[in-house]
Point group: C2
Chain length 333, copies 2
């Protein structure tokens, strides 16, 4: 468990921790992909309170989605994170927990919907982008940075990106104002050695530019936690996790596992467990996130989980062989 780069030898690494690691809770934001961001205020407040008590560094409350692209009445408040809605649930956030929102490239009216920092409880704007959207994404980063926010960039679906193009993207991102570059395993398709390789690559560009690297892992192959550890071992210092792994499809790295692993005395897992028990687990059956064979199959095929999400919401959900046959035939087509 190589958490400190300072100490050497097995025993030293075992009992220590790495102080500059930051943890971001993405429960409501990523979980919102399973319920159109329709969380009760009570749930959002419970996650917020738990994050504060647990010593978590950031809470990502939702998206800043464009109301032109996303119908305001089809999605819950946490798809848009209007200032009034944020303050209704979180107050003026008097805590040291930092509030994050995600802004999707080409799906955010950022000039208009992201207020100057002085008028907002938001601290961090994370721009999510596919590789072909990098110019827009970097303009969004600049906009948020100029308005006074901390910024991050989440480069998505990189398991389907050619290495040469990834290098160009990282080179470009490294020249921007962004503070953290996050490795996102969108399809839950990466093995540990690929995580090693990619985190090293990201660090190579990021460190030279004084930026941090983050990891955001999905659990399609039951590797979300272990790949997050792998990221830590390689030097990633910004870690995404969610309560009970709540998130799209197979879900994310579970916060309760991550906090215990980190050994930093500032973190406390008990408030996470309490919120998990009272607010998150009761939603599991309706939302249907977490490892299952259909998610495993899209993970192995390095594909978006949408076909598995659809299957798991259908009456045939337990017929995993039928899903296997379907997806295998598609593969051959």
């Amino acid at each position: 468990m190589q958490q400190t780069t300072e100490t050497s030898g097995f025993a030293g690494r075992w009992v220590s921790y790495r102080e500059n690691i930051k943890v971001l809770d993405a429960t409501i934001r990523d979980g919102g992909l399973m319920n159109d961001s329709k969380f009760e205020d009570r749930t959002v407040k419970a996650v917020y309170d738990a994050c504060v008590e647990a010593g978590i560094d950031y809470m990502e409350v939702g998206y800043k989605a464009s109301k032109k692209v996303f119908a305001r009445d089809r999605y819950g408040d946490w798809r848009f994170c209007d200032e009034a809605d944020l303050r209704r649930a979180l107050g003026d956030n008097p805590s040291s927990l930092k509030i994050s929102v995600m802004a999707d490239a080409e799906k955010t009216d950022y000039h208009q919907d992201i207020l100057p920092k002085s008028e907002s409880v938001i601290d961090l704007v994370r721009v999510a982008t596919y590789i072909h959207q990098i110019p827009v994404a970097l303009d969004m980063v600049k906009d948020a940075h100029d308005k006074g926010y901390s910024t991050g960039i989440n480069l998505m679906s990189i398991s389907n990106v050619q290495e040469r193009e990834l290098n160009s993207a990282l080179e470009l991102i490294a020249t921007s104002e962004v503070e953290t570059i996050c490795l996102v395993d969108s399809f839950g398709a990466l093995y540990s050695e690929q995580v090693d390789y990619l985190v090293q690559k990201y660090l190579c560009y990021a460190k030279a530019a004084g930026k941090e690297v983050g990891v955001h892992m999905h659990n399609n192959l039951q590797l979300a936690f272990s790949n997050t550890i792998q990221g830590i071992v390689q030097g990633a210092n910004f870690l995404d996790a969610t309560f009970g792994g709540l998130g799209r499809g197979a879900g994310n790295c579970p916060m309760e596992l991550l906090l215990r692993f980190l050994h930093n005395p500032k973190y406390n897992v008990r408030p996470v467990l309490k919120c998990l028990q009272e607010e998150i687990e009761p939603m599991r059956e309706a939302l249907g996130w977490g490892f299952s064979v259909p998610y495993m199959l899209t993970g192995f095929l390095n594909r978006h989980p949408r076909s598995a999400i659809k299957w798991n919401a259908s009456p045939e959900k337990d017929d995993i062989v039928a899903f296997y046959d379907k997806i295998t035939l598609e593969e051959e087509a």
Copy 2:
């Protein structure tokens, strides 16, 4: 994904596989710890058929438990694996699948209950032992070897063994007739770097004596599959897994994940999925295996999962905070 030691470079390792890897299915044996080995013949036969069709190398059908220690009427047939019972379910095993049984040190009347190989459908006898039972275990290995069986030894609970004693144990085991030495993460407490370290240590003793190293991982920290991969990367060639991860407590490395990962064309995951769907998943609610927070907590504390198994079978099972408080207080006591 370093699966071949022969190839070098990332691309080469990606598309290849390691031919000398063997996979053992432990579904009925390890799963038997959740239902006193009371599986229907139909289920045992279904797992057997699936193993044969899937190209799996070994199936561990159960234990050779002493009828003096285990009441014959309290446990199912698969706790004892009498020859007549094996043949009732599996016939004379005309397939190339090899049949394995586990024999616990000090809980097996091995002189009497393990027949000469010529009279049995069993191919492999795996001796499970705590470190203080090594002399008995090695006598059991010799007995099985002399009777004509392949042999393995599973050294249990090693996350609680002092390193000096582990070294002595491995030194002794290396002098025996045993063919495979299996690293067992009994409490699901090991992280990847510990797996690396321990597999390297096991290999150091085993390779010099012409033996193979195996891994048997539990899923308390959602690391059973990733730790098995870690074992493969380090050079372990004998891998335990179970259908749907069925096994004690948080369960084992899921066979469906492992077979897909291995990329050896002799393996076929579809029969595993079919059996999983028809025979294994329908038992999940009654047997209650698989990751849960109580198992996570015993894993983090490097403890036997028995308190969590008891909790998960109680009416309070969903009160994970109460379990957390209980186990934390015990820890301080």
